[in-house]
Amino acid sequence: MCALVSPNVVTAAPVARWDFGEEDVSRVVPVGAVQRDAVGPRPPEFPDFEINNTAAQFAGVGAHFALADTGTGSVLDFTNGDAITLEAWVKVEDWRANDTLYVIGKGRTGAAGFIADNQNWALRLRAIGGQFSLNFLFATTRDATASKKDAHWHRWTSARGFGPNTGWHHVAVTYRFGEPGSIRGWVDGKLQPGSWDMGGATTAAPVVDDDAVWIGSSMKGSASASFRGAMDGVALHRDIVSDAELKTRYRRVGGPVLANAAPAAPVVMPALGVLPVGRVLATFYEGMPAHDRWLLATEKLPAENARWMGTEFLLPRLPQRFDEWGIRASWQAPVLARLAADVALPAGTHRVVLRARGLTRLWANGAVVATTRAQKSDSGGHDPITRIAAPPLPGLRSVIFGIEEVFGEVVVPASGPVRFVVESLVGGKRYRPEPGELTVAVQTPDGRSYAVLQAGGAASGEPVALTDAAVTAALSRAEASLGALDDATRRVGGATQTSFWEDRHEAARQWSQRQPRLVVPAGPAHPIDAFLAAKVAGAERAAAQTPLAEAQKFHEEVLPILREACFRCHGEKEKGGLKLNTRAAALAGGESKRPAIVPGQAAASELVARIKHPDEEERMPPTGDALTPAQIAVLAAWINAGAEWPAPPLPPEIITPAPVLGDAAFLRRVYFDTVGVPPAERDVRSFLADRSPDKRERVIDRLLADERWADHWVSYWQDVLAENPSMLKPSLNNTGPFRWYLYDALRDGKPMDQLVTELILLRGSEREGGSAGFGMAADNDAPFAAKGHVIATAFLGIELQCARCHDSPYHSTKQRDLYALAAFFARKPVTVPNSSVVPAAFFEKKARESLIKVTLPPREAVAPIWPFASLTGVTDDASLDGLLRQPQDKRERLAALVTAPANTRFAQVIVNRVWKRLFGAGIVEPAHDWEGRDVSHPELLAWLAREFVVNNYDLRRLARLLLTSQSYQRAATGRNLSAPAAQRFFAAPEPRRLTAEQVVDSLFAVAGQPIDVEEITLDGEARRPADSFISLGVPRRAWMFASLSNERDRPSLNLPRAQLVVDVLEAFGWSGSRQSPRTDRESEANVLQPGVLANSVVSLWVTRAAVGSELAELAVNAASPEALAESLFLRFYGRWPSRAERLAVVRTLTPGFAERVLPSNEVRPVPRWPALPAVSWSNHLVAEANSIKLELEQRARAGPPADPRLRPAWRESLEDAAWGLINTREFVWLP
């Protein structure tokens, strides 16, 4: 709660006070990582507070609350003669020596437009001498002639304060400006002595301006000035609060804790009772008090959040955290990770090694045997390069960068189980909770190796030696197991929503029963085929009425001119009340009442007069070049001939159905359209051999149940929803990586209405994969308007780009409409930012009525009022409440308005998007902007949308409906995309090039190589918090890449291998930087596309018969050049070669085929690159970091080592054949 009162009212009440309760703090704006539901001082310790008292939590680095100044003479301004009291409850949780943590201050925010050093007043805590002193600060006007540069600073510091980790304290200062002797400081109700320093005591007046008040930070959010911890009861008074009152402010049961009284909790191995046999029990506890110490005696271990059963003492990462709906959330770091098991060890002394990233301790049978230190923050890039550590013994795995390695000894008196427990603090307030590779290993009895510690018992696995190969394999087993745990946890969360969505879908079915029935026309068996055939039949009847030549002349010569020059405004819109897109409308005229067209009389037709008008202000069209004399002549001749408007001609090629694809082509197409990769050789062989009549339906069902469906679809929604994450400090309209939310939702088969609802509700983690990441828009002055734009194009087919600053010139949408959506998101009225206001000067200089209009008065607050009732069919009234959990929540209302069954636009837009993706052209084009567009098959679209709704908005069922039609399965010779709606018959789907993601995934798939690139992060050590640095993991599929651009041009920040893959993606139209939503990528062919397939390093990688690749294995095992050639065609193209093709490849493969495999005694071991020191953000500004990355670039260019079993000369021929196969058009175009 905050209250502001007039300064001339004399009262003991403060002018402003913040208790950070649940009520809305209307005038104070949270900025950065602050939250208002932290635990405040509470009884029984602090009996004066309410039992559930809450406080504000500040994460530091700029996190603060801001209160704008109201102007000159405001209650926040203090000058000589004014009395001030500042007080607060504080609990400091994190600091560094010499930090000066701002509790509250006015000025010095670093905002533009103010002089530097404009501190009117401030209360701070200084971390000096192992304690926190009170600190009061203000600045006077700077005297340039002063000998000391800080003479204008006036700072009073208390001699004593309170110690670290001592819980809640009350602090206060009182002062009368102009009277330096009046300063008094209080800690926990005790007066504190202190002294003035820097510029010393002064009678001069402080600097006063209109800069803001900040709570919790200052100086542009400087880290060392930002409070880390909790605050409560922050108050500002315009008088001196009396000693008597301040003495009673602090009341704690047991008295004040000024020094660090609480001792550390005793170091005792946790008693865990009986542990599972053969399993390592991992348990996780979030919200530990600090990353650099264990619990104090007064602190309790937080509740367990997660548990996982591993097989080794090896932890690659924490389990994923989910909110109660199963949406990715963030861990509240630091997290305590505890691994425990009983291990069978023989009697004797055993040497163990512990590897951990943060503060860690390892017990064996109750005794601590090894510890590692707490994580430390980095120097911002100047840390030294760390040499590769020598392994504990030759041939073993070296400790990875950023992990500490320590050794210890365990004495086992008698053979038997030994209980091992390791506790590690993972992450912290300034560190991401990523443990790296937490490992415990024990030396083998022969002393020659180490083995990762495993739980004893029958269920234990094979021993895991501490070698690269064995540990890597164990890590991927652990990863798979954690993944399964994540899936289970997420689905448990998701299941809490099931009944809600079942009810919604039941309501949708009931709604649909109340609607008029939609009838499938008679004809072909599949409804889609029947609808398409019906349109053809109708068009044939209409076309029969006009001679073909006449119809062609109008549609090929006349109509294109009208469409190009007129329909933008007089067709799709109705400028001047005039439409020109039908004969009847043109004859009727517009507001002027003059008919635009008088048949037979061009000279009398207003249309001709306007296009010929000599005055530019009168001439049409209003923008761009005037029509050419030839174009004018065509129109005039048409009008003089009677202005007939015949039905379009029907050339047979646009209505005659293309032949249905053969099995091989069908299989390849349907694989790409469902799982995004081509079928494997065995899949092709078995499908082609299958003689059963329903094999196409069966393969469709199998593929729709395949989880790779999610891989295929994530990338589409990344574009449409403008997913735009950045590895480092978000800027350039960056969002969070909500790819992970989309991926989870698609894998779990969430209905589309649920997916969209959860997206709009912005849940879970913003920077670690929740749908909240969708809500972020860095550096954007109106992020919620940006989101309104995205959801309108994505789900409603409404384009609002122009509405950011003005009403749309070519659409009926208004600026108000966009900001109304923003207001729903914001849950309150919003105003248009100044940077999105069209200046009045623009309109003044325009003589003609401007195409753009601003009907929204500047600075008017736009309320959350649903603007699209008539467009969508859904109205925002009580009828909606049944679809809502919290009807008063505006954001949830928006989600329901978009996804309600009554919103027929939503289902149709989704259907059209899926249709377009599978047929290459939409029933409505473009798919993201429907206004004024004709629907090629309105009945079909309505029927499909209805099917979608009554089938639970299930994307896969919708896809099944489309994929099983004959129309989908025809040869790709369609010309629908460029045709007007009336001429779109879908007699054949469009030819489609693979998407960028499909190209990359195919390249690695046909080679049988994994995508082998770096982790997508610039801080592999997790030494920076998620709000500035994130990891997007190691990509497994192409959609997992992200923009690698960091605008810093430092070689040390390059990810050489990932960059090479991104080059291929970008050549084919992918962009990791998605600043705006995009439905249609650029599709024009360009020279770089075949270029990267022919010449890129990725092409070199995938065509190489590399060690461990399927291509090499195929070559080694091939029976004959002919058989190998066949396998290659099945692999690369999913079909048998023609005779000539087989011959061409066999010619290449035959010389040397018989001798291609070297005798085993001639096989040379594969050379390995020597390891290089790691480069991370922490050391990237060191010169050597750049040289290391240049060396890695060079290694990436060299490509993977070839399979040494193959004789190089023959291997090169095989690679040439593979190269040839990926460089044809067929490889990158769907059949």
Partner: protein, 423 residues
Amino acid sequence: MNRREFLNASVGAAWLPQWARAAGAPSPLLKGKAEHVISIWLGGGMGQIDTFDPKRRGDPLKKIAGSYYDSIPTAVSGVQICEHLKRTAPLMDRVTAVRSVFHDVIDEHAAATNRMHTGRSVSGSVAYPSLGSVVAHERRALQDGVPPYVLIGYPNVTRGPGFLGSRAGYLYLTDTRHGPAGLSRPEGMGADRQARRDALLADLRGQGAEVNDARLRDYEAAIDQSIRLSGPDFTRSFRLNEEKATLRESYGGEFGQRCLLARRLVESGVRFIEVSHNLNFINGTGWDVHNGGIKEQHGLIADLDQALAALITDLEAKRLLDRTLIVITSEFGRPPEFDSGGGRGHQGRAFTCVLAGGGLRHRGAFGETDELSKKIVHDPVSVPDLFATIHAAVGVDYTKNLYDGDRPVPITDGGRPISVLFG
């Protein structure tokens, strides 16, 4: 309202200044005669006070603000530059150090890089094109079969084409030992083996049925064009060993070789070449000389000096200097004060960008800052003004609109060229 206040008031309203300014008297369109641009990017932020706008010496140890180095006279009387620019100093009559560039982005490299490449602040609704993309879009390449825009440096979003689309994008390479990604054959690919591959590919391509869809034909044509471009003609531009050894040496190290390559690309018809000076292994930080990064800054400056002087001299010898505008920019400048490690922070409110050649009337320096290069005292040049100057020099109408779909976007944010450099 003076010019700076006006700009400050309009931050973010992309098209505001031009509309408002258009009310004043129209000035004649300036048009230079340059055909190419070589844009040198000093990633990190070149400290103007240590290079092209030197002031009195400071002392990093005693924290006395000022230049790190001594300054020396140049070919232009009254214009001094840093002592480590000794090869450029005699050529300053072909150069104008624009000492009064300013913007309002300070602490964030990404945002400032964006500003200095697109001339705009970030917009929520428009992805703006880079300067190179605009020039490529407006003027295309001089020759068929040659890309209009080549980047020698790392691919970045802000160097990209934004709403202009990939045709206005760049072809990039990260160093001169390798040709552009996608158009140069992999290392170790001999001519014989490539010929065998091409023959096999021709065989495979010859097998398919004839296509009559334009999209498929276009792709087939792109394959043919790619084979041509990867062949000897265009990739020859990248073979620096065809140059005389003495000339190569005169350009200096890797950065110099990039500049030499840029000259060869100019000769082949490329319109805009951005060359990144990111030789960060010299000092670790590149031009971002916080703390200890400044200790080896003179090495960076000398590296730039050698290459720049060689480029100017070489272009002049080939009669290309008047046709080729050289531009040197970076995120921002640096303040005269020293940080706790003896280096420097960032300064956006006054810094230097450099123009050379391009047929401009050079004057050694334009614009003036105060005694410590902290504030502009004469002739402020906004980033849009700098961009308009570059556009005008290379014959692009700096008053026209580009179109993001239907939406008109002025080519610069109301920039006006520095008129004294023309005519």
